[in-house]
């Protein structure tokens, strides 16, 4: 029987109702300050959302290295590219709906392609902080509920895509992004989520971490859905032994770990707060269907726009809860058994 991986150093009270909830974006804000302390070339640009993206904390600490561009996300992306070409490491902060939602072409041409095949040390080091991503923005409604950003960014050659699961991991991802060569997209939501990883929890860009071991089914999740996946695994404990993988790096995908996992369990459920097309689920489905085909179920927003509501209501409405993952796991396992019988 599998269990929570002790080498992940998750909090002891993981399944307690009183687990502390923190805004993931706080991790981004703290990470920016840390990156700024480590490297004097780190610059932060923001498009009129300084407080809510937590870029404010960097601005207060390093006012000379903070740039305000106003409501101009396209300018922000290319401006960052120009700074990066002169040696700066530039974070651009906005809501994911606008960056990379609105400035996708500028990111493609002036950041990703501009950085493509750079000599080492000459990359375009622009790091895109996409805040308020997913339906959990809640009452603001569909215009602000960015659900296509991971797909958009994942399609760009040379782009690294990170979806941290809580504030602590978001801080690590931000600091790591500053040191990682080339363009990076970091995606996080608005609302507060359980904060359950710790300083000791390993984090490395491009690595999948096994948060829970299990032999019957692999649940691969990131962002807020990773916690839901852990709850689902707990609920299923006596029935199906679930392995839970933290896939914070959607690109580049940790194919080695993935392959080992699916070879062991023989079926997969993916879970993300994103369209079920083109994001984490898409990436995993592409990989396993080509390399080691096993039954797969994807939890995600099913090809529809979001709507106003409270985050909790919306997670239920859009079938992004632990219970939905439980159902998907049962189905994936059933498909596996049915295939075996055949």
């Amino acid at each position: 029987m599998g269990s929570i991986n002790p080498r992940m150093y998750l909090i002891d009270a993981l399944y307690s109702k009183n687990v502390k909830k923190v805004n993931t974006r706080d991790g981004y804000g703290k990470g920016l300050v840390k990156a700024g302390e480590k490297n004097p070339d780190v610059v932060v640009i923001c498009a009129d959302l300084t407080e809510s993206t937590r870029s404010l904390w960097f601005q207060e600490k390093f006012p000379d290295r903070f740039v305000e561009v106003g409501v101009a996300e396209q300018n922000m992306a290319s401006l960052a590219a120009g700074m990066a070409a002169t040696g700066k490491v530039v974070f651009i902060s906005s809501y994911a709906a606008f960056s990379p939602g609105r400035n996708n072409e500028q990111i493609r041409t002036t950041i990703s392609y501009n950085s493509w095949k750079s000599k080492p040390g000459k990359e375009i080091n622009v790091k895109i902080g996409g805040a308020h991503a997913g339906i959990s923005v809640g009452p603001d409604g569909a215009t602000h509920q960015q659900l296509e950003d991971v797909a958009l960014m994942r399609m760009q050659p040379g782009m690294t895509v990170l979806v941290p699961c809580d504030d602590v991991e978001c801080e690590k991802a931000t600091v790591a992004a500053a040191e990682y060569p080339g363009p990076v997209y970091i995606r996080f939501g608005r609302t507060s989520y359980p904060s359950y990883t710790t300083i000791k929890t390993p984090f490395q860009i491009g690595r999948i971490e096994e948060f829970r071991s299990g032999k019957d089914c692999t649940i691969i999740a990131n962002g807020p859905l990773l916690y839901e996946a852990l709850i689902a695994a707990k609920k299923l404990e006596k029935e199906i032994d679930c392995q839970v993988l933290n896939c914070h790096t959607v690109k580049p995908l940790d194919c080695g770990t993935l392959l080992k996992a699916v070879q062991k369990t023989g079926c997969v459920v993916t879970a993300e707060e994103h369209q079920w097309l083109g994001g984490l689920g898409g990436a995993i489905a592409e990989f396993i269907s080509e390399v080691y085909p096993v039954p797969i179920k994807r939890i995600g927003v099913q090809d529809r726009f979001g709507e106003s509501g409270n985050p909790d209501e919306l997670f239920k409405e859009f079938h992004l809860t632990a219970d939905d993952i439980v159902k998907a796991v049962r189905e994936a396992v059933r498909m596996k058994q049915w295939q075996k019988r055949k």
Partner: protein
């Protein structure tokens, strides 16, 4: 530590005119070998590129990443044949390579790609993003208290793009006087003349309202280009925009002022005529009768 010396400035106007003529011939030859590409824009801007690469810019073709260099950001990437010809003629890469323009495996991509060829400061093509990148470079250099200047070349058509004005506002707000921008004002774009497609005038007043210093010059006159850049350098409280009025297709009679030549290359036969005309012009420059 080796001391890097900048490319020696050419100050003799007759020599600069001859270089511009050579760059025009190189453009024609590259385009005919490519079989596709833009003719009118590169020919019209040959004098500006000559003035910049042979007189104005601080740069070193043997050390393209030299920290002490000025940056030239080409926003309207489609006129890259003139940039490539200028780079080849200053020694960034062999002139013979110009004939590989747009061919598979070339370093001379149809629209310039920063990491493909030494001397390129950015990747461009989709219009409207160059001024933002130039602003970023100018802002970063100023943060580091560096004296290097940034030059940005834009087309007139891309003044229709919203991002250009986002950047113009940013540059004006931040008084980036280390930035000099050019508008390649040749009045043509793919579908017709700019004033038919989307009237841009009064262009100078628009930039002045954004807190820019604005100059209007005859950009087919190398001396006027150099003088304007010198004036821009002397202005320390605001950025300078040089509206570079030029004749598209300059130097080839049947291309001049004809928007149909915006986006196509000459045929082998047309190239022959074009080169003959440019050689006649060359001998006129030599004898001082141009």
């Amino acid at each position: 530590m080796t001391i890097i010396k900048p490319f020696p400035r050419v100050t003799n106007i007759k020599r600069l005119k001859l270089i511009a003529n050579m760059i025009r011939q190189d453009i024609i030859q590259a385009l005919v070998a490519a079989g596709s590409g833009h003719s009118a824009g590169p020919l019209g801007m040959a004098d500006v590129f000559t003035a910049l690469y042979f007189n104005v810019l601080v740069h070193n073709p043997q050390n393209p990443f030299w920290e002490g260099r000025d940056r030239l950001i080409l926003s309207n990437g489609h006129i890259c044949p003139v940039l490539y010809a200028a780079l080849a003629n200053t020694g960034y890469f062999p002139r013979a390579e110009l004939k590989t323009l747009r061919h598979l495996g070339t370093r001379l991509q149809g629209h310039p790609h920063r990491t493909a060829l030494p001397g390129l400061e950015t990747t461009s093509g989709p219009l409207g993003s160059g001024l933002s990148q130039a602003a970023g470079a100018a802002y970063a250099l100023r943060m580091d208290k560096k004296k290097n200047r940034v030059y940005c070349l834009m087309s007139d058509g891309e003044q229709e793009a919203g991002q250009t004005w986002e950047a113009a506002m940013f540059v004006g707000k931040n008084k980036l006087s280390n930035l000099t921008a050019f508008i390649d004002r040749n009045n043509i774009q793919i579908d017709g003349t700019t004033e038919e497609i989307m009237p841009l005038e009064p262009l100078a007043d628009k930039y002045r309202a954004f807190n820019w210093h604005v100059l209007e010059i005859d950009a087919n006159n190398v001396k006027a280009v150099i003088d304007a850049c010198n004036e821009a350098r002397a202005i320390t409280e605001r950025p300078t925009l040089i509206i570079a009025h030029n004749t598209p297709g300059k130097g080839v009679s049947f291309m001049e002022n004809n928007y149909e030549w915006h986006g196509k290359p000459p045929t082998a036969e047309q190239a022959k005529i074009a080169l003959r005309e440019l050689q006649v012009w060359r001998s006129q420059i030599m004898s001082g009768r141009d």
